[in-house]
């Protein structure tokens, strides 16, 4: 192995994958070009559009700004991996019900990002629009729009995306 390559192991959607990567390879390209995992999409390669978003050890990241070599041993969950035993994740179903996409290219990233934001809000993390950072934020539309603004959609499905996430967020919240 060349000294510009590294051996890494990833747990991708529950499957252990070992590979040698050029140290320049991003996590996104490692997934798409080396492993054939094409659920995360390449829209800008600069962390500006969010289409490549996955959950990396449970946190949402843009894989185009993440070097694969830095992810040795990490757990990667793509939108495909959010489906379990062939059953769609509630976010998948909500995006279908609300038509939260058109061309579908930004969609796996939107869904991973939405899954990440539900966890972040559940953990009480504030956003730039949270009025009182001392209390757990309620995921209203304003909060969702702010927290989803790293994921661009050129087809203009934002209002449907927000409706879909709102529905899942409401179901996730414990009854008052």
């Amino acid at each position: 192995m060349a000294d510009t390559e590294s051996e890494i192991t990833l747990l991708v959607d529950g499957v252990r994958r070992s590979l040698a990567v050029d140290n320049r390879v991003t996590l996104l390209d490692a997934l798409r070009d080396r492993l054939g995992v094409t659920s995360p999409k390449k829209g800008c390669d600069h962390g500006q559009c969010g289409a490549c978003t996955v959950l990396l050890d449970g946190r949402r990241v843009t894989t185009c700004l993440t070097f694969a070599v830095a992810c040795d041993g990490a757990e990667v969950t793509t939108s495909a991996g959010l489906a379990t035993d062939g059953r769609l994740h509630p976010l998948h179903q909500a995006f279908l019900d609300h038509d939260g996409f058109q061309c579908g290219y930004c969609t796996p990233g939107q869904i991973c990002s939405a899954a990440g934001l539900l966890d972040e809000a559940g953990a009480g993390w504030p956003s730039a629009v949270t009025a009182d950072v001392r209390t757990a934020p309620a995921l209203d539309e304003e909060e969702i729009r702010e927290r989803m603004s790293g994921n661009l959609c050129r087809c203009g499905a934002y209002v449907n995306i927000v409706a879909a996430i709102s529905e899942v967020a409401a179901k996730a919240e414990p009854a008052p």
């Binding site: 390879v25 038509d99 994921n151 203009g156």
Partner: protein, 694 residues
């Protein structure tokens, strides 16, 4: 009549048939089709805007481990020339615009290809370039025709004389900047060319269009080429005509003799050679009597084109047909510049060309002391002002009235700068929209086949770029065959299927749907209600006998609420509402997304988008999504789309008019008009940014 279908599946609220694959990310886009042992391409682009390449030193690139081939204008395979200068790359040392494709590296990995492309040393003999558009250039010229086949200039009556004598008048110049389509999926081609032929997975709006162009460019038979595109990540026109990237990839595939070559553009490259909307400079003059009835209406438009290939955006079209006026003049003039070739972007002509007249109408309403809706109603034509033909249906006034009711227009302050709420100036505005019913008889063919498992397979080389065609065409086929939706299997996105028109001009459903209806009717005529497995019939979309008798168009009205911060000039659009009259709606769920998506792109156009050219170097400096701003989630609040129940028996058997583009058409004008109503500041130059209010 066209034999209007009885709707059963048509009109049903259906989940997208391709939805589950898209939300999980398992639907394969062009780059994602597995091919054996692919090689990766990275291009070399010109770093001057005009001149000649005198030398390309490739030895360093060739010497890099993993480099498989380097292509330059001095050694690239030859193409058929004289057909389309945009596509004739690597055939001569000439450089016509900065960013032009002048070479390529093919390598074992994308990283090596990119590194090697940076090692190619190019020497140039520079010439002075000119990329500056203005309305007072001495070399503006009159194109022979404009995009979509319209006339370059029109004149009815005496527009100048009538304007001079008008009781009320608006005379102003409006500008729209350069826009880049920026679909989320970058333009991508995966090509392999071996002894069995050429196979191309492409991110395209039309597989048969691409095949035809590749065949003629490379001088080979269409039957030796297969183009595949089952899923496409948006196009907005930029994937509707072929661009040079497909040629570069196929050139490399030819050199690689059987090994597949993959090339996905970077986002930055998408600002160089895959089309864009020309900037426009529009001088609009409206003259009216004291009751607000137009006596003169004119729009004279200046736009740019490239020196190597003409593209004339049809921006005068809206001024020719929206309102009644006895005296009318329109003209298009082009500046030939050292720039990339402009091309289609969502509602070419109609979108920028509606902005200026619809803001001017708002100014005229003010000059006449009339409500903007009332002014438009008073100028509603009885027949099409452009052709004199009756309308197959025109419900613009109904859209304005219904929109006013839903939006809460009544009681709106007549004066601008009347409402101040918590440090924000608040206003509302309206604009009209239209989009013509384009149809291309004979362009699309479909086959209906009854299969061994007693299902109906419907085959047509259509492409779904996000429009919902997968679902809507299945609904149409179900009704045309009089079977349940679930009994139809649609096959699209492959030149192995019957030929189909491009997904453009909001005409997909019109062209493809009609072909499917013809095939289904031929199938039932031949085989009746009880066909046997293997039975099939193929038919082509016929001529529409009514196109000579009627003017056909969809109409709409957009309403906007705008808030402008009194201190900072920050602009917000808390509400957008559109009402459309666009014939029959095939699938309310996906149709709403088309309208809302178009309006959202219109909001983006109004507030954010502007490609900025550095005139010293001749390229777009804000060439990525961090600096070319498109609307993000937090920019978009309430966007509602509604439609009227419109029955038009003349357009096609589905009764559809096309919905992909009308949503964007009037939106920017409605927002500009609302911004004026909020602040009293008339913004005539897009985008409507904070500085315009300070």
């Amino acid at each position: 009549m066209t034999g209007l279908l009885r709707p059963r599946s048509i009109g049903a609220n259906r989940q997208r048939v391709d939805g589950p694959a898209k939300v999980t990310g398992t639907a394969p886009y062009a780059y994602e089709h597995p091919v054996p042992n692919p090689a990766y391409l990275h291009p070399v682009q010109a770093t001057i805007a005009r001149g000649d390449i005198t030398d390309m030193r490739t030895d360093e690139a060739v010497g890099l481990d993993g480099v498989l081939a380097v292509l330059t204008p001095f050694d690239a395979p030859r193409l058929e020339t004289g057909q389309d200068a945009e596509l004739e790359i690597l055939q001569s040392p000439e450089v016509h615009f900065r960013g032009q494709l002048i070479g390529a590296v093919v390598a074992e990995t994308p990283e090596i290809a990119r590194q090697a492309a940076g090692l190619v040393r190019v020497s140039y003999a520079r010439r002075d370039h000119d990329v500056s558009l203005s309305a007072d250039r001495s070399d503006l010229y009159r194109p022979d025709e404009v995009n979509a086949g319209g006339e370059t200039d029109t004149r009815q009556g005496d527009p100048d004389g009538a304007f001079a004598g008008a009781a009320r008048a608006v005379d102003a110049t409006y500008t729209t900047p350069m826009y880049h389509n920026n679909p989320m999926e970058p333009h991508t081609t995966v090509a392999s060319w071996d002894s069995t032929g050429l196979t191309i997975y492409d991110s395209t709006q039309g597989v048969h269009t691409m095949r035809q162009v590749v065949a003629s460019t490379f001088g080979i038979e269409e039957s030796d080429i297969r183009v595949v595109a089952p899923y496409v990540g948006g196009g907005f026109g930029s994937k509707g005509t072929p661009h040079a990237n497909i040629v570069l990839t196929v050139l490399a595939a030819k050199r690689m003799a059987g090994r597949p070559v993959k090339y996905a553009l970077t986002r930055q490259q998408m600002f160089s050679f895959v089309g864009y909307r020309t900037p426009t400079i529009q001088r609009v003059r409206l003259g009216a009597d004291e009751h607000g009835r137009l006596v003169s209406l004119s729009n004279h438009v200046v736009e740019q084109t490239s020196r190597i290939k003409e593209y004339a955006e049809q921006s005068c079209e809206p001024a020719r047909k929206m309102y009644a006026a006895p005296n009318r003049g329109t003209s298009h003039r082009l500046a030939p510049l050292d720039v990339p070739v402009p091309s289609w972007m969502r509602a070419p002509g109609e979108c920028p060309g509606m902005f200026a007249p619809e803001v001017a109408m708002d100014e005229l309403a003010q000059a006449c002391d009339l409500d903007p809706i009332e002014l438009r109603v008073r100028n509603e034509p009885e027949t099409d002002p452009a052709s004199g033909l009756p309308f197959s249906s025109r419900n613009l006034v109904a859209c304005l009235r219904e929109g006013a009711r839903r939006f809460g227009w009544a009681g709106r302050p007549a004066l601008a700068r009347s409402t101040l709420e918590g440090g924000w100036w608040v206003g509302t505005g309206v604009a009209s929209s239209a989009y013509p019913v384009h149809q291309s008889p004979g362009s699309s063919t479909a086959t209906v086949r009854f299969t061994a498992d007693r299902r109906y397979e419907v085959r047509i080389g259509a492409v779904d770029i996000g429009t919902g065609a997968w679902t809507a065409l299945t609904q149409i086929a179900a009704d045309a065959l009089d079977v349940p939706f679930e009994d139809v299997d649609l096959r699209i996105g492959d030149t192995g299927l019957p030929a189909a028109a491009v997904a453009g001009g909001s005409s997909g459903i019109t062209n493809w749907g009609w072909a499917i209806v013809e095939a289904a009717r031929a199938f039932r005529e031949k085989f009746g209600a009880g066909p046997s497995p293997g039975d099939e019939r193929t038919a082509t979309q016929p001529e529409n006998p009514h196109t000579e008798r009627f003017a056909m168009s969809a109409y709409g009205a957009q309403f906007a609420e705008v808030r402008v911060d009194t201190d900072t000039g920050e602009v917000r659009v808390p509400r957008l509402l559109g009402v459309f009259a666009a014939g029959r709606i095939v699938n309310p769920r996906t149709a709403r997304s088309q309208f809302v998506g178009g309006m959202t792109m219109g909001l983006s156009m109004a507030l954010h988008e502007e490609s900025v050219t550095d005139e010293r170097f001749g390229f777009v400096v804000n060439h990525d999504l961090a600096e070319y701003h498109i609307a993000a989630c937090a920019d978009v609040r309430s966007v509602e789309a509604h439609w009227l129940d419109e029955h038009d028996p003349y357009v096609n058997p589905m009764g559809t008019k096309g919905i992909g583009e009308i949503g964007i058409v009037g939106t920017a004008a409605a927002i500009a008009n609302a911004a004026y109503h909020a602040t009293g500041v008339r913004v005539r130059d897009l985008p409507i940014t904070a500085d315009k209010f300070l």
